[in-house]
Subunit: 264 residues, 2 copies
């Protein structure tokens, strides 16, 4: 018997307890809302205002409970919400820490990485990890409209903001059309300028697909995230003015640091 079938399994169903918390007493701001929700809002507000700065440790749960005049469990419920939102990160035995706000990353446009990062007042950085010429796998060939085995240039990039790694990206270009693209990129340090070197004045995003997985060990090290961290995987194909594919890229974002903003 096929042992798998995670889904399709006959789930007798968790009752999915719709939390109907007893509306607890007092609390100044929003009467009528559940207490843990009010506490969550207050802590979130404190983080937004800067009372608790990025990277700092929140007061212990017992202290927060005393400060807001609620039970520690109510604080824990509130912190769970903030954790889910990505605002804080609990560390067992150490404390709960304020996460850095996620960088809003516009996608599906022509915007340049350095402009995106610069717009948020941070210093954009990046480097070419590796570049090589190889032969196209079936998958890459299909995306670039080439035959499997055709020569392609592979670029491995890493990009960071204020020295914090944001994403690593693997790009493939047709080696016949862009010979030595890896060396060109190493010199020009920009995809736009690299393509311009080969006479491509304009290009646009042809297709974009977004998924999420857990990080693998190599990317975990390069992105400086814990193993099993979630990452955003963005597969994209850029095409020239005639719609012909120029390059295909798989970008892995550290999900905890980035928020993709889709422009419609």
């Amino acid at each position: 018997m096929t042992a798998t079938t995670d889904h399709r399994r006959a789930r007798t169903g968790p009752p999915a307890a719709g939390h109907r918390d007893a509306a607890a007493p007092a609390g100044a701001t929003l009467p009528g809302v559940t207490l843990w929700r009010r506490v969550a809002d207050q802590i979130a507000q404190a983080i937004a205002v800067g009372t608790y700065g990025t990277g700092t440790r929140l007061p212990a749960e017992t202290e927060l409970a005393a400060h807001y005049g609620v039970n520690r469990h109510t604080v824990r419920r509130a912190l769970a919400v903030l954790r889910e939102r990505g605002l804080v990160r609990p560390a067992r035995g150490s404390g709960t820490y304020v996460e850095a706000p996620r960088l809003a990353y516009p996608i599906g446009t022509r915007t340049r990485f350095s402009e995106i990062v610069g717009a948020s007042g941070r210093q954009a950085g990046g480097r070419l990890i590796a570049g090589a010429q190889e032969l196209a796998s079936i998958e890459v060939a299909r995306r670039l409209g080439l035959k499997p085995g055709a020569p392609v240039v592979r670029l491995e990039l890493m990009r960071e903001a204020d020295g914090v790694p944001l994403c690593v990206a693997t790009t493939f270009l047709c080696a016949t059309r862009f010979p030595g693209a890896d060396r060109v990129y190493a010199a020009r340090r920009s995809m736009t300028r690299t393509l311009a070197q080969f006479g491509i004045a304009d290009y646009r995003r042809g297709a974009t697909r977004v998924t999420a997985t857990t990080v693998d060990l190599g990317d975990a090290a390069r992105l400086d995230v814990r193993p099993d961290s979630p990452i955003l995987v963005v597969d994209s194909i850029d095409v020239d003015a005639d719609g012909r594919p120029l390059l295909t890229t798989r970008t892995r974002f550290a999900a905890e640091r980035v928020e993709l903003v889709l422009e419609s």
Copy 2:
């Protein structure tokens, strides 16, 4: 760097020659590419063709090694790539299983959920988990353009394809403008029809933001995924013809089952 350009395997020394032509000619298709890459392509192709069906177990690593005439480590290297691509999922002690192909989910358009799922030949399903009127938190109020504490309707939805849960969504609507929206939705079972009931003939996507986190326990149970699974979090605001916010939704997708397709 030009690695693997001339990767000839005609060695004189060790008698490893008889490997390549056992049962399956792994080398026939793409000479020059690294061996593990060829094996990965072949297995991926076998999955695509249907030789290994969704949910079934792949032959053991030792069997695959024998079948392709390579070492087990080479097979492992190939499987690691497929795992990274989300095609297979290894289970220690049990085997390596073929993942279900991810449902392509267009986003940023007006497409209806049932149409999206139906287009892939699956049966769309869904149900209202919970609906209630409450008071807006700071965050919800900001997104809906209301004052904190204003009455809002909260809808908790779950959506599935062929009985497999795809996502759970939390939607907030202004209770003043849409009184009893939860009961209306329970009857009409569609957001479009619910809004139509209140005289909203047309609405569009105003803003969309995408992140990823690890699933929390409640969603893990409802989505029927393992704890610590990655989920795609899509925050969206829908607006009316005048650009005024109608509703805001946070959708959590089981990342292993969905692939967001951005349309540009």
